[in-house]
C-alpha cells in the first residue's frame, strides 16, 4: 500500500479548505483511476454491485479494440496496396499506427483538457464518458484528416455537443458523431470524395480510393470488391468502420456483458434490412439494387449501430423506445444512402436525426405507460370477480 500512502500525501493540498481544493476533481480523476476509492455506503442499500461507470466505459473500450486494431492494419494495407511495391505486415502496422495513434492522442488530450477544465470550473467529478468518445472520434474519421481538424472537431463536440447541455448524461447528440458532423460540414473536402479514404491517396496518381457507397452513388455497377471483402473489411473507408467482422466481435462483447443495448442493435438491423429489401425490389439505380445484405456490411452502418446508436445518453431510454429508435436508425440510414445524392453514407445523419427524436419517442412511451395506469381505474369490477 505504499503507492496508496504516496497518493494520500499528494492529495492533502487538494482536500477541503486547502490551497488547491478547486482542483480536487482533476486529482481525484487520477486517484480513482489507480484505485477504486474506499467510499462506503451511506444511505440506502448497504451493499453495491461491482459495476461502476468506469467499468462500463472500459468494457466499451475493450469492445472497440478489435475494430481499432483492424483499422490500423487496414490503413496500412490500403496505403501499400495502392503503391504497387513490396511490403510486410510490419510495414502495414507501422504505417497504420503512425497515422492513427497521433489522432487518438490529439483527441484525448484536447477532449480531456476541456473535460477537466469544466469539472474544476463546475466543481464536479470527472465523468468517464469521454474515455469512449475520445477513442470513437478518431476511429470514425478519414485517415488523412489533419490533426488540427481532429482537435477542432473534438473541441466543438465537447463544448457544444456536451458541456453546453450540462455535461455527461445531459447531451442530446452523440458527442463523437457531433465531432464527425462538424468536420463533415466544415471541411467537406477532407471528409468526402474519392481521395480521402486511403492514406496518402491524393499523392498517388491514378489509384481510386473511393468507398463502395461512393462508387455506387456515381453509378458504378461493377464493384472491384466481393462481399467477403466488405465483411472482413479490406476496403477503403473511415478508419475503423470497414470490418463488419471486428464490429460484430465488439457487438458480441457489448451484448454479452450487457453494457450495450441489443434492442437498439437488433432494431437497427431489422430496420435497415427491411428498407434494403424493399429498395432491392424497387431497384431503379445502383444504390437501390445493391444487395440489402451488402448494405449492412458496407460503410459505417455496422460500426454506427453497434457503437454510436447505442450510446445510452443520446439514444431512447425506455425499453420500447429503444426498439422504435433502432428501427428508425436503420430505416433512415438506408433511406439517406439511397435518396441523398450529396451524402453516399447515411448512418451518421440517421443516428444524429434519431438522437434528436429520441426524447420524443420516449415521451410517447412514457405517456402510454401513464395511460395504462389511468385505465386500470375503469375496470376494478373485473378484478373483483
Amino acid at each position: 500500500m505504499n503507492i496508496r500512502n504516496t497518493i494520500d500525501n499528494l492529495k492533502k493540498p487538494f482536500s477541503k479548505g486547502e490551497k488547491w481544493e478547486r482542483f480536487a476533481p482533476a486529482f481525484n480523476a487520477f486517484d480513482t483511476f489507480l484505485f477504486v476509492p474506499n467510499h462506503t455506503t451511506k444511505h440506502g442499500a448497504h451493499i453495491r454491485d461491482a459495476v461502476d461507470l468506469k467499468r462500463t466505459m472500459i468494457t466499451v473500450i475493450i469492445a472497440l479494440v478489435p475494430a481499432l486494431f483492424y483499422g490500423i492494419y487496414n490503413t496500412g494495407f490500403q496505403y501499400y496496396s495502392q503503391l504497387d511495391i513490396d511490403y510486410t505486415l510490419m510495414d502495414v502496422v507501422i504505417h497504420g499506427s503512425m497515422k492513427i495513434v497521433p489522432m487518438i492522442a490529439v483527441s484525448y488530450i484536447v477532449g480531456l483538457a476541456i473535460e477537466f477544465a469544466f469539472a474544476v470550473f463546475r466543481g464536479h467529478e470527472i465523468n468517464e464518458g469521454y474515455l469512449v468518445t475520445g477513442l470513437l472520434i478518431p476511429m470514425i474519421m478519414p485517415v488523412d484528416i489533419p490533426l488540427w481538424m481532429v482537435g477542432l472537431s473534438v473541441a466543438f463536440a465537447v463544448f457544444i455537443g456536451k458541456e453546453a447541455f450540462g455535461g455527461t448524461g445531459m447531451n442530446i447528440l452523440n458527442p463523437a458523431l457531433t465531432a464527425r458532423a462538424f468536420a463533415f460540414f466544415a471541411y467537406p473536402t477532407y471528409m468526402s470524395g474519392n481521395q480521402v479514404w486511403v492514406s496518402e491517396a491524393s499523392n498517388v496518381d491514378g489509384v481510386s480510393g473511393e468507398t463502395i457507397l461512393g462508387m455506387l452513388a456515381n453509378g458504378t455497377s461493377s464493384l472491384p470488391y466481393q462481399p467477403i471483402d466488405m465483411f472482413m473489411g479490406s476496403i477503403p473507408g473511415s478508419i475503423a468502420e470497414t470490418s463488419t467482422l471486428m464490429v460484430l466481435l465488439g457487438a458480441f462483447i457489448l451484448i454479452y456483458t450487457g453494457v450495450g443495448s441489443w434492442r437498439i442493435m437488433l432494431g437497427s438491423l431489422i430496420g435497415a434490412a427491411i428498407t434494403g429489401i424493399l429498395f432491392n425490389l424497387w431497384g431503379v439505380n445502383e444504390l437501390m439494387s445493391f444487395n440489402w445484405m451488402n448494405h449492412l456490411m458496407v460503410g459505417g452502418f455496422a460500426f454506427g449501430v453497434v457503437f454510436m446508436a447505442t450510446d445510452p445518453v443520446s439514444a431512447a431510454q425506455t425499453v420500447k423506445g429503444k426498439w422504435i429508435y433502432g428501427l428508425l436508425v436503420g430505416l433512415f440510414c438506408i433511406l439517406i444512402r439511397v435518396f441523398n445524392p450529396a451524402y453516399p453514407e447515411g448512418v451518421m445523419l440517421a443516428i444524429l436525426l434519431m438522437n434528436v427524436f429520441a426524447p420524443t419517442i420516449d415521451h410517447y412511451v412514457v405517456e402510454a405507460n401513464v395511460k395504462r395506469r389511468l385505465n386500470r381505474i375503469k375496470k376494478p369490477i373485473i378484478n373483483m370477480a
Binding site: M1, I3, R4, T32, L34, F35, V36, P37, N38, H39, T40, T41, K42, H43, G44, A45, H46, I47, R48, D49, A50, V51, D52, L53, K54, R55, T56, I58, T59, I62, E125, N127, E128, G129, G167, T168, G169, M170, Y256, T257, G258, V259, S261, P312, V313, A315, Q317, T318, V319, K322, V366, N369, V370, R372, R373, L374, R376, I377, N383
Partner: protein
C-alpha cells in the same frame, strides 16, 4: 382462492451467513428503546418523563398529528433516558427493564362480537396501531381511512433476510387470529402472499386471498405484490403489515397484553452462528450480537433490517420496531488498485457480466459495504428496469422525484412505490445513485404537498 404470480425482473443476491433454522429465546434485556425514527414522519408527544415507572402496555408517547395513535412500552420498567437532538427533537426513549416482570392477568378479547370501530379503538389504545402501515407513502396508517384491501407478505426475498415461515412457525394461532381481526378493518380483501416454493400453513387459511409468488427479489416486497394483485390508483389506500405483526395483533386479542414479539434473524458474513432470536421490539442488541458471535465489533456494520433496506446502528444500540432481520457486514473502507478493470476482482457479483461471478450461480459472496465506485450522472439506461418488476418506469420516476415535479410523479406511479422497492436499483446502479433516498424524499414531498 389462490393466485399464482410470477415475477421476472429482479435479482437474487447470494450472500454468506444466512441464519440457520434455529430459534433461540433471548433473555430479558436490561434496556429497551423506542425510537421515533422507526415511525416515519411521526412527531412524538411525550406522556412520560425520565424516572417514571411504566407498565407493559402503558403509553409512552402519542403522535402529535393524530393523538389516537399511541406508542406503548413493551415491558415493565423505568424511563431511563429521553435523548433529544437539535430543536429538542426526540431521538430515543430508553426504558430500564424491571428484572421482575409482573405477571398480568390474561383476558381474551372476543373480536367476533366487535364491530370495526371497536376493533380500531382497541388497536389504537393498546399500542398495536403502529403495526399497520399504509401505501401510498409507506407510513403508519390513518385510523380514519377505509383501506380498499389489506396486504401481508409472508415471503421475504431479500438477501440473507429472515424467513417468515420459520418466524410464524410457533405463532400460527396468533397469526390466524390476527387475520380474522384485520378482515374486519377493510371492506375489501385481506391478501396474503407466500413463496411458491415453500408450503405453509397459510396456504390453507380460509377467508383470505392467498397468492403464491415466484421469482427473485423483490418478489417478496409487499409493494410489488400489491402492484400485481390490486394496484393502487390515485386516492386509494392499502394497508400493509409485517407477518409477525399480524401475530402480535392476534396475541393482543388472545391475552389483552401488548407484547410486541420480534423474532429476528441475525445474519451476515461475519456472524459465526447466524440464527434466529425471539425477543421483543426495541431490545438492546449487544447481548444478541455477542451471542451470535463476531470477532470484534470494529470495522463491522450493524444493520437494523436487511442488507438492502436496513439502517445502520451501533453495537450498543437497540433493535428497530419493525425489522425481522438484523444484518452484519464488514465495512468496506479499503482501496482496490485498478478495481474497475472488468473481469478482475470477481469477489463482487454484478448484474453486468463484467466479472466472472456469473459463472458460479450458486456461489455465496462475502460482500462488504464498499461503494465499488463513485456517484456519477445517470448515463446507462435500461439497467433499472432489469431489477424493477412493476409496470412503472423507474428511471423516469426517479428523475421526476429529483426535480420535485408532483404532477409527473403522480402520473408515473409514485403512489405505488416505497423506498424498499428501489433497493435493488441502489444496489445495481452503475452511476451509484441513491434511489431509495430519492424516493423517500419524493414521497415526503407528496405527503407535504398533496397529503
Amino acid at each position: 382462492m389462490s393466485n399464482d404470480i410470477k415475477i421476472k425482473n429482479g435479482l437474487t443476491i447470494k450472500l454468506k451467513g444466512a441464519a440457520n433454522n434455529i430459534i433461540k429465546k433471548a433473555a430479558l434485556p436490561k434496556f429497551v428503546s423506542i425510537n421515533p425514527s422507526n415511525f416515519h414522519l411521526i412527531i412524538p408527544k411525550m406522556v412520560v418523563k425520565v424516572g417514571d415507572s411504566v407498565q407493559q402496555g402503558d403509553v409512552i408517547f402519542f403522535s402529535k398529528k393524530d393523538e389516537r395513535i399511541k406508542f406503548c412500552s413493551p415491558v415493565d420498567g423505568i424511563i431511563k433516558d429521553i435523548s433529544r437532538g437539535a430543536k429538542r427533537k426526540i431521538i430515543e426513549i430508553i426504558i430500564e427493564v424491571d428484572e421482575k416482570q409482573n405477571t398480568k392477568s390474561l383476558k381474551k378479547i372476543n373480536h367476533e362480537t366487535l364491530d370495526p370501530e371497536n376493533i380500531k379503538n382497541i388497536l389504537l389504545s393498546s399500542g398495536c396501531w403502529p403495526f399497520i402501515k399504509q401505501r401510498p407513502y409507506d407510513v403508519i396508517s390513518n385510523p380514519s381511512d377505509d383501506p380498499k384491501s389489506i396486504f401481508i407478505s409472508a415471503f421475504n426475498s431479500a438477501p440473507i433476510a429472515a424467513d417468515l415461515q420459520i418466524i410464524l412457525e410457533d405463532q400460527k394461532e396468533e397469526f390466524k387470529n390476527g387475520i380474522k381481526i384485520l378482515a374486519k378493518l377493510t371492506s375489501g380483501d385481506v391478501n396474503i402472499c407466500v413463496d411458491k416454493n415453500s408450503s405453509s400453513f397459510i396456504n390453507k387459511l380460509d377467508g383470505v386471498n392467498i397468492h403464491t409468488i415466484n421469482g427473485p427479489h423483490p418478489a417478496g416486497n409487499v409493494g410489488v405484490q400489491i402492484h400485481h394483485i390490486d394496484p393502487i390508483n390515485s386516492g386509494e389506500i392499502v394497508w400493509t403489515l409485517g407477518a409477525e405483526d399480524v401475530a402480535n395483533i392476534g396475541r393482543y386479542f388472545n391475552t389483552g397484553i401488548y407484547n410486541p414479539v420480534r423474532t429476528i434473524a441475525v445474519s451476515g458474513p461475519p456472524v459465526k452462528y447466524p440464527q434466529y432470536y425471539k425477543t421483543i421490539s426495541g431490545t438492546e442488541l449487544n447481548k444478541i450480537i455477542d451471542d451470535a458471535g463476531i470477532d470484534s465489533k470494529d470495522s463491522l456494520r450493524f444493520i437494523n433490517g436487511d442488507v438492502l433496506t436496513g439502517s445502520t446502528v451501533e453495537h450498543d444500540n437497540y433493535l428497530g420496531f419493525y425489522n425481522n432481520s438484523f444484518s452484519v457486514l464488514r465495512e468496506g473502507n479499503h482501496y482496490r488498485m485498478f478495481g474497475w478493470i472488468p473481469f478482475i476482482n470477481n469477489k463482487v457479483p454484478s448484474i453486468y457480466k463484467t466479472s466472472f461471478s456469473w459463472l458460479f450461480p450458486n456461489k455465496k459472496y462475502d460482500l462488504d459495504t464498499n461503494m465499488n465506485g463513485e456517484e456519477r450522472a445517470i448515463v446507462v439506461t435500461g439497467e433499472m428496469e432489469k431489477v424493477f418488476p412493476m409496470d412503472i418506469l423507474p428511471m423516469q420516476l426517479l428523475k421526476e422525484c429529483m426535480a420535485g415535479n408532483i404532477e409527473k410523479m403522480e402520473s408515473l406511479g409514485i403512489y405505488e412505490v416505497a423506498p424498499e422497492d428501489f433497493s435493488l436499483i441502489d444496489y445495481s446502479s452503475s452511476s451509484k445513485i441513491e434511489a431509495q433516498y430519492i424516493i423517500r424524499q419524493g414521497l415526503d414531498l407528496m405527503i407535504s404537498e398533496v397529503g
